[in-house]
Amino acid sequence: MEMPIPNASVLARKDRIVAKLSAVLPANAVISDEAETRAYECDALTAYRCPPLAAVLPTTTEQVSAILKICHAEGVPVVPRGSGTSLAGGALPTADCVILGVARMNGVLETDYNNRFIRVQTGRTNLSVSGAVEENDFFYAPDPSSQLACAIAGNIAMNSGGAHCLKYGVTTNNLLGVTMVQMDGTVIEIGGAHLDSGGLDLLGLICGSEGQLGVVTEATLRILRKPEGARPVLMAFDSNEVAGACVSDMIKAGVLPVAIEFMDRPILELAENFAKAGYPDCEALLIVEVEGSDAEIDEQLTLILEIARRHNPVELREAKDAEDATRIWLGRKSAFGAVGQVADYMCLDGTIPVSELPRVLTGISELSKKYGLRVGNVFHAGDGNMHPLIMFDANKAGDLELCEQMGAEILRLCVEVGGCLTGEHGVGIEKRDLMVDQFTTQDLEVQMAVKDVFDPTWLLNPAKVFPLQSSQSRRAGQLAAE
C-alpha cells in the first residue's frame, strides 16, 4: 500500500516540534523516543506499519487545541487515534506525522437519565459508556465487535455499527452532539441534548469523516433503557440461498429482530473447532435475537420460527435460559478468533442489498477457488453488511498481495450489485484506491471540497479515504504552504 513520501522538512524539525508540544502538555504526554513511538506504528490493520514522528496523549480539549495550533503552524500532519482498533488503517501513521491519541480522555462529563443522554470524553471505550449507565438499566446501543477496546472517538470517525444496529441504528443515529477541535485549534460545539440541527446538519457530516475534518474530543450520546429481556434462536439451513430467503421473509413479515447474524460453513467449522459451541452440521446458520418481556419474546419467536419452518431448516434451537443464549452467541463471538488461530486474515465489510446475498456468496466462493485462498463469511444479514474473512499466510511471499487483490474483487462485486465498499469499518487506507469504483471523479471532488472547508491545508489524516492520486494536488498544497 503506497503512502506519501514523508516531508523531509518536518522530519528535520523534529526536535523543535517535540519541544513546542512538550511546552503545552503535561509530563509523559509527548512520546518521541523511537523505541516508544513504535507502539503507535499501526492499528488493527497490522500488515502496514510506520512509526510516527511523535505521539501525544492529551487529557483535555484545551490541550488538543494547543497541539493542533502548533502542528498547524509547523505544517505537521496529524493522525487522530482512538484505541487503534481500526481494521481499515484509519490510524496508520506516516513518518512525518504526530499521532494525537485520545486514550487518556476517558471521563464521563454528564449523565442525564431524564433527557436520556450521556456526555463523555471520546477516549472512553464503547463498552464502558454502557458500563457507566448500566446500574440504572440504560445502555448505549451501537456495539461494534471491538467494543471492549474501541473508543467513542473512533466510533464517531468511522460511524461504527454493530450486531444490533438493525433495530437501534449505527453511531450517527445515536450521536446528539460533539465538541470538535479544528486543525487550526478552533474549538466548536455542534448539537447537544436537543434533537436535529437548526441549520446545515454538520453533525451528520462529521460522523464518519474518518478524522479528516476535526478532532472530536467530547460527545453527547443517546442512551436507551434496556429491554426487559432478550433471547436468541439458532436456525440451521442446508444452503446459503435458503438462509438468505428466510432473512428476507422475516423482514417482509414485519418482525424486526434486534440482530440477524449469518455464518457459512467454512466459518462454522472453524468456530466449532475453536469454541465448541455445539452448532449443528449445516451449510448456513442464522442467529436471530429478539427483545422484550418473556411474553413478548414468545410472541415474536412464534412468528419467526413459523417463517423459518417454511424453509425446511436442518435444525431450530431456541435458548431456554441464559446459558443456552451464551452458547448460541459463543461461536459467533469467537468467529474472528477462530479464524485467527489457523491463518492470517483480512476482514472486509462491503454491504449489499439483502436480495443479492445468494449471488454475492456464490461470487465469493468462485473467487476463493480462483485465488486459492480460503474465505469464511460471517455477517449482519438483516442489513446486508457482509464480513468475508480471507485467509492467507503473511509469511508466504506474495500471499498478502494476492489476498488484497481478491479482496478488491469482492468489494467490486459488492458495488456492482448495488452495494458499497464499506458498511461500518471505514475506508482508511485499505479501500482508498477502490473509491473510484464506487464514485465518479466529481463525486470524490465534492467530498474533498468539504475537507477543504474544514482543513484547508490538508494536515488532518491526509493520506486516507481518497486515492492518493486524487488528493495529490491538495496534499502538495500543504507542503507548499508550510
Binding site: 442525564d112 431524564n114 436520556r116 440504560f138 468511522m158 441504528g169 443515529n173 478552533t186 466548536i188 447537544g192 441534548a193 436537543h194 434533537l195 436535529d196 440541527s197 437548526g198 441549520g199 446545515l200 446538519d201 454538520l202 451528520g204 457530516l205 460522523c207 464518519g208 433503557r225 434496556k226 428476507s248 421473509d249 423482514i251 414485519g254 424486526l256 422484550g292 418481556s293 411474553a295 413478548e296 410472541e299 415474536q300 412468528l303 454491504t351 449489499i352 442489498p353 439483502v354 436480495s355 438483516g382 442489513d383 446486508g384 453488511n385 452495494g419 458499497c420 458498511g423 471505514g426 473509491m435 465518479t440 466529481q442 463525486d443 470524490l444 465534492v446 467530498q447 475537507k451 472547508v453
Partner: protein, 375 residues
C-alpha cells in the same frame, strides 16, 4: 417569472448549468421557507416515480418530485411506512398542492416518531442531486449501512436546496406494526407532563410518541403516549405504562381511527390551523421544555418529542428568540411574513455559520440555489 419543470435528471442539470441568476427551488410548495429573491422557479414535480421498491429489503428508491401521498399509498399496500412520520404542512401553512419526497428530505421534516425511530435524515440511505454548477452528484447508496466516504446524505437533508437540487433519494422503510395503543393522561401541568413523558420514554416499553397539549381537542390538558407492535405485546406494555401513572387520571385508547386522528392532530399541529399569528418550532432539551414555554407566553402551545419540541403560536412579528433568551437548542420561525430583523432559522454561532457559508460556496459557488432561504 419563469417556471422551469425539468423532466429528467439530465434536464435538471442542464437547466441549472444554464442559469444566469438565482433560482427558487420548489417541490410541492407546501412549506415555503425564508424569502427567496428569484425570477426563476425550478419545480421538481416532473421528476416523479418510484425507481425501485424492495419490501423484503426495506428499501425504496424514488424520484425527488414524487408526491408523498403516492409513496405512502405504495408503502401501505405492502404494510410498510416512512417511520419518521413526515408532517403534512398544508393545514398549518395554509398552502395547497402535493408535498414531495424531495421537499420532505430537503427540509428534514419529521413527526412525533422522531423521538424513538429517528428523523428523516436517519432514514435517508442515498441521494442523487445536482449542485449549483449543474454537476450531477451522488452520495450514499441503497444499502442499510454505508460508511464509504463522507456522509453528504445527511448534509443534503435539511439543506433546503441550498447545496443542490435532489433528483433521487433512497430510503429505508419500516413495517407497519400490527397494532397500536395510546395512553392518555388527563389534567397534567406542563411540568408534570414532561416528567411523565420522560419517565415513559425512559421505561423499557418502547414509547414511539410522547406529546402533551396544554389545551387538547376538548380544551383540557392531555398527555399522549404511543406504543406500537404485536397485539399481545402492545396490551402488555399499555397496561404496564398505565400502572406507572396510577396516581393520575389515565385511560388507554385502542380504536385505530381515533389513534391515527389523534397523532395526525399532533403531527400536523392542527391546534394552530386557521388561527392568525406566527408559528414557531423550538427544539430543546426536553426537561427545559416547561420553562421555555413559560418564557414564550404563547397564545397556543403544543409539546412533542417528550417536551423536546415546542410548537408555539405567537402574535405576528413577535421575536420568540428574544422571549426565550439563551437556551440550548434552536427556534425556527415556521410561519410568518418575511422579516429582515427576525430570520426564519436560528442564528448559528459564528464558527458554525462560517463553516456553513463556506460549504454552500463549495456546492453552489454562484449562490444561485435558494439564496437566503436559510437566513
Amino acid at each position: 417569472m419563469t417556471i422551469l419543470t425539468p423532466k429528467t435528471e439530465a434536464e435538471l442539470a442542464e437547466v441549472i448549468a444554464g442559469t444566469q441568476g438565482p433560482i427558487c427551488v420548489r417541490g410541492g410548495g407546501t412549506r415555503p421557507g425564508g424569502h427567496v429573491e428569484a425570477e426563476t422557479v425550478l419545480q421538481t414535480a416532473a421528476l416523479s416515480g418510484i425507481t425501485l421498491y424492495e419490501p423484503g429489503a426495506l428499501t425504496l428508491v424514488v424520484q425527488a418530485g414524487t408526491p408523498l401521498q403516492d409513496i405512502e399509498k405504495q408503502l401501505t399496500d405492502e404494510k410498510q411506512r416512512l417511520a419518521f412520520e413526515p408532517i403534512d404542512y398544508r393545514g398549518l401553512m395554509g398552502t395547497s398542492g402535493q408535498s414531495t419526497i424531495g421537499g420532505v428530505m430537503a427540509t428534514n421534516t419529521s413527526g412525533p416518531r422522531r423521538i424513538q425511530a429517528g428523523a428523516a435524515r436517519d432514514f435517508a440511505l442515498g441521494v442523487r442531486f445536482v449542485d449549483g454548477t449543474g454537476t450531477v452528484l451522488k452520495n450514499g447508496g441503497r444499502v442499510m449501512k454505508n460508511v464509504t466516504g463522507y456522509d453528504l446524505v445527511k448534509l443534503l437533508c435539511g439543506s433546503w436546496g441550498t447545496l443542490g437540487v435532489l433528483s433521487e433519494v433512497s430510503l429505508k422503510v419500516q413495517p407497519i406494526p400490527d397494532t397500536s395503543a395510546c395512553i392518555l393522561i388527563n389534567g397534567l401541568t406542563n411540568q408534570q407532563a414532561v416528567d411523565a413523558m420522560s419517565k415513559a420514554l425512559g421505561s423499557p416499553f418502547e414509547v414511539t410518541g410522547a406529546a402533551h397539549a396544554p389545551e387538547g381537542v376538548d380544551g383540557h390538558p392531555v398527555t399522549m403516549l404511543r406504543i406500537e407492535g404485536f397485539e399481545k405485546s402492545v396490551s402488555y406494555r399499555a397496561a404496564q405504562l398505565k400502572d406507572l401513572f396510577g396516581a393520575y387520571d389515565v385511560s388507554i385508547e385502542t380504536t385505530p381511527e381515533k389513534l391515527s386522528a389523534g397523532w395526525k392532530w399532533v403531527r400536523d399541529v392542527e391546534l394552530m390551523h386557521g388561527l392568525s399569528g406566527d408559528v414557531w418550532r423550538i427544539s430543546c432539551k426536553p426537561s427545559d421544555g416547561p420553562e421555555l414555554a413559560a418564557r414564550l407566553k404563547a397564545d397556543k402551545t403544543l409539546f412533542d418529542w417528550g417536551g423536546g419540541l415546542i410548537w408555539a403560536l405567537l402574535p405576528e412579528r413577535t421575536d420568540a428568540r428574544a422571549r426565550l433568551g439563551e437556551f440550548a437548542g434552536h427556534a425556527t420561525r415556521v410561519r410568518g411574513a418575511p422579516l429582515t430583523n427576525i430570520p426564519m432559522f436560528h442564528p448559528e454561532p459564528a464558527a458554525l455559520a462560517t463553516l456553513s457559508k463556506s460549504l454552500r460556496l463549495k456546492f453552489d459557488p454562484h449562490g444561485y440555489l435558494n439564496p437566503g432561504i436559510m437566513d
